[in-house]
């Protein structure tokens, strides 16, 4: 990008600067021996054209909406449309969550995102002994289509997109969404949304498991195939780095493992379903974390888009530019928040949200200030939403696209993250791909090491956490903490009982038996699941069929 003459001048100038630095250091040494990013990659004091001399503008940076998409996936980015304000929410009963959804939409939220409770996430009904004490605690409890009808009451399914953080039973919850659309007379080609449906990162990080890896991947590819054919606006997988980062990975690991997961899914759909890559790849979406280190995060988002474009074009030979582009949702880092002085979390979330926006996210969740204490109160969730709205409307960051492009530092960091992530991806390829790497515990142990290192840095005060290891004060309590109603489990169990009594149980048994037979073949299971949920089969009844046939995955307990 620079002439040899310019670079020569840069180097001469740098020598003069270095002399000044020496003088300054003699008077006052720098604050630290070594400066590093949040992921502990070393950072120099200054970056110059010399650091990005290998970059080629057209090849590596270019224009938004055009390969390699470093600058954004849409040609107009936020000048055309802001990112979607999509607040992850769910608590207690379907009624409680529906109320929160309507509140957030009224306050200007532009997309929905569903948090399910642990029994729902793991494929258990509220009345299962495994579910005792968990109902509605960590999200909304859903057992049957009846709950889903209440959850979506008054929500125009063809007017708002809905994301569902659901993995092992993704087909079941998606089937409920499609079932509700059917009952409301809305065609599937008019509804948009996302199912997370990413089991590889579950084995690696988030740990809601049900089936072993092989049948898990089969169900994922069933969803991709079904969506490609019948629900064209649906994102059939949200390939997620968020949870990898929350489990303690570095930014580089988040980037590398997420892309390696993406490679594994694309490979599986091509091989198992014999689909043309360009038929399904445009509906793959991604989900990243935005952590505290401002520039490292921005660089990560830019590197992610560039890498995915190269993977899809060069590795999978995709021809449709929509297969090359990476669209992603971002959530600010829950793990960066502190229980101490919780109001400080608003500031952390603000800078993380800003990094996501400068990194070109399509959709954003901002965490509430009280999330290390409980599920967000309405007050805290509203401030979190307002944080995005202030960024979108008041501070001028939506005018120019990819405003940090060309920064010596940001470009250099982007290339550095990309280079280190390729090293991981090559290593995983050498192991035989992500499934093989997971089987030998590779990503799990890499993350465990990084998480331990991070905690040690905090304990040794090498990494400052305000209110925890510096500027410690007496604890200030937040205004209000959301309490999940103690009666929710009982009421939910009662409703489940009613639904089971009122449905046509012979029909349910027949459909479940058809599902069982189909599960033993390589048929797409989605039509069977849709038929089952429409007859009010419960989530667990469907999942038990699969557990019975495929077995259950057990946590190897790496630490």
């Amino acid at each position: 990008m620079f002439t040899e003459k310019t670079l020569q001048e840069v180097r001469e100038g740098k020598k003069r600067w270095e002399k000044e630095v020496e003088k300054a250091r003699r008077q006052k040494p720098e604050r630290k021996q070594r400066f590093s990013t949040g992921s502990d990659s070393e950072i120099k004091g200054i970056y110059t054209p010399d650091d990005i001399k290998e970059l080629d503008f057209a090849r590596d940076i270019g224009y938004p909406g055009i390969f390699p998409f470093t600058r954004g996936c849409q040609p107009t980015m936020y000048r055309g449309r802001e990112w979607t304000f999509r607040m992850f929410s769910g608590m207690g009963s379907a009624e409680d969550t529906n109320r929160r959804w309507h509140h957030l939409l009224k306050e200007g939220e532009t997309g929905l995102s569903t948090a399910f409770d642990f029994p729902t996430l793991m494929g258990y009904d509220t009345d299962s002994p495994r579910a005792r004490g968990e109902c509605g605690r960590c999200g909304v409890a859903i057992d049957t289509l009846r709950d889903f009808e209440i959850l979506t009451h008054g929500i125009p399914l063809d007017g708002v997109t809905t994301s569902m953080t659901i993995n092992p039973p993704a087909l079941v919850l998606w089937a409920m969404y499609l079932g509700v659309a059917d009952k409301s007379g809305i065609n599937w080609d008019r509804i948009g949304g996302t199912i997370q449906n990413d089991m590889l990162k579950e084995f690696i990080a988030q740990k809601t498991f049900m089936l072993p890896p092989e049948p898990s991947i089969r169900l994922i590819s069933d969803a991709v195939e079904f969506g490609t054919e019948h629900v064209p606006l649906w994102n059939t997988i949200s390939i997620s780095g968020y949870h990898i980062r929350e489990a303690g990975s570095t930014a580089i690991q988040e980037l590398a493992f997420t892309l390696a997961d993406g490679i594994a899914y694309v490979q599986d759909v091509i091989e198992r379903k014999k689909l043309d890559v360009d038929s399904f790849a445009p509906r793959l979406s991604f989900f990243f974390n935005s952590h505290l280190d401002f520039f490292e995060e921005i660089a990560k988002f830019r590197a992610a888009r560039r890498m995915w474009a190269r993977i899809m074009r060069d590795r999978f030979k995709a021809k449709n530019p929509r297969s090359w582009w990476m669209r992603f949702h971002t959530q600010t880092a829950g793990c960066s928040l502190t229980a101490q002085q919780p109001y400080n979390n608003i500031i952390r979330t603000t800078t993380e949200a800003l990094a996501a926006v400068l990194g070109g996210t399509q959709s954003l969740h901002t965490n509430a200030l009280d999330e290390t204490l409980a599920l967000p109160s309405e007050f805290a969730a509203t401030i979190a939403l307002r944080t995005q709205q202030v960024i979108a409307d008041e501070i001028g960051v939506t005018n120019a696209i990819d405003p940090l492009a060309g920064s010596y530092f940001v470009e250099s960091l982007t290339s550095q993250l990309e280079e280190k992530a390729w090293e991981y991806i090559n290593k995983i390829d050498d192991m035989g791909g992500m499934l093989a790497a997971i089987d030998r515990g590779f990503p799990q142990m890499e993350i465990a090491d990084a998480a331990y290192h991070y905690q040690k840095q905090i304990d040794d005060a090498e990494k400052v956490v305000v209110g925890v290891n510096k500027y410690v004060t007496k604890k200030e309590a937040p205004a209000e903490i959301l309490k999940v109603d103690e009666g929710v489990e009982e009421r939910q169990s009662a409703r489940l009982k009613e639904v089971k009594a009122a449905r046509d149980n012979r029909k349910v048994a027949q459909i479940l038996s058809d599902l069982r037979a189909a599960s033993r073949t390589d048929k797409n299971l989605m039509p069977y699941v849709i038929a089952a949920v429409k007859e009010y089969a419960t989530e667990q009844e469907i999942c038990d069929v699969w557990r019975d046939i495929f077995g259950v995955y057990r946590d190897p307990g790496y630490y």
Binding site: C138, F209, A339, A448, A451, V468, Y559
Partner: protein, 136 residues
């Protein structure tokens, strides 16, 4: 403090369906690095499985972690099962997302200490050294 030369043995356990295991795994490693013998159950254990593991592994301390909000039921059930099995020499400590107001209730149940987010590893290790001795 009794010293038979046997190391302190600790069971780190994740009860219930909660998948948040970062804290539990970091603690397990810190205990190991501090010279304790550690058994980590892995995720998704029932209280019955946890108490059975504690008995089988002959541990001196159980560390439970829960971030899903189901702690009152799950921790309470572990304590209840220890009592049913007439185990009175295994201490129980807990950590996770636990509202302030639940702490006295948990202590009343018989839980020795509650560690909240932001606690330094050293503090937890120090608590173990001060309060747990290996059985002969």
């Amino acid at each position: 403090m009794a010293n038979s030369g046997r190391k302190i043995r600790i069971l780190v356990a994740k009860p219930g369906l909660d998948g948040h295991d970062r804290g539990a795994r970091v603690i397990a490693r810190a205990f190991r690095d501090a010279g304790f013998e550690v058994v980590y159950t892995g995720l998704h254990q029932t209280p019955e499985q946890i108490v059975a593991a504690a008995l089988q592994e002959d541990v001196d301390l159980i560390g439970l972690s829960c971030l899903s909000g189901a702690h009152m039921h799950l921790f309470g059930r572990v304590i209840e099962l220890l009592k049913e099995n007439k185990v009175d020499d295994v201490k129980v400590i807990v950590g996770g997302i636990i509202p302030e107001e639940d702490i006295p209730k948990l202590k009343k149940l018989g839980i020795k200490e509650v560690f909240l987010p932001g606690t330094a590893l050293e503090k937890i290790v120090g608590w173990v050294r001060d309060n747990v001795s290996p059985r002969c």
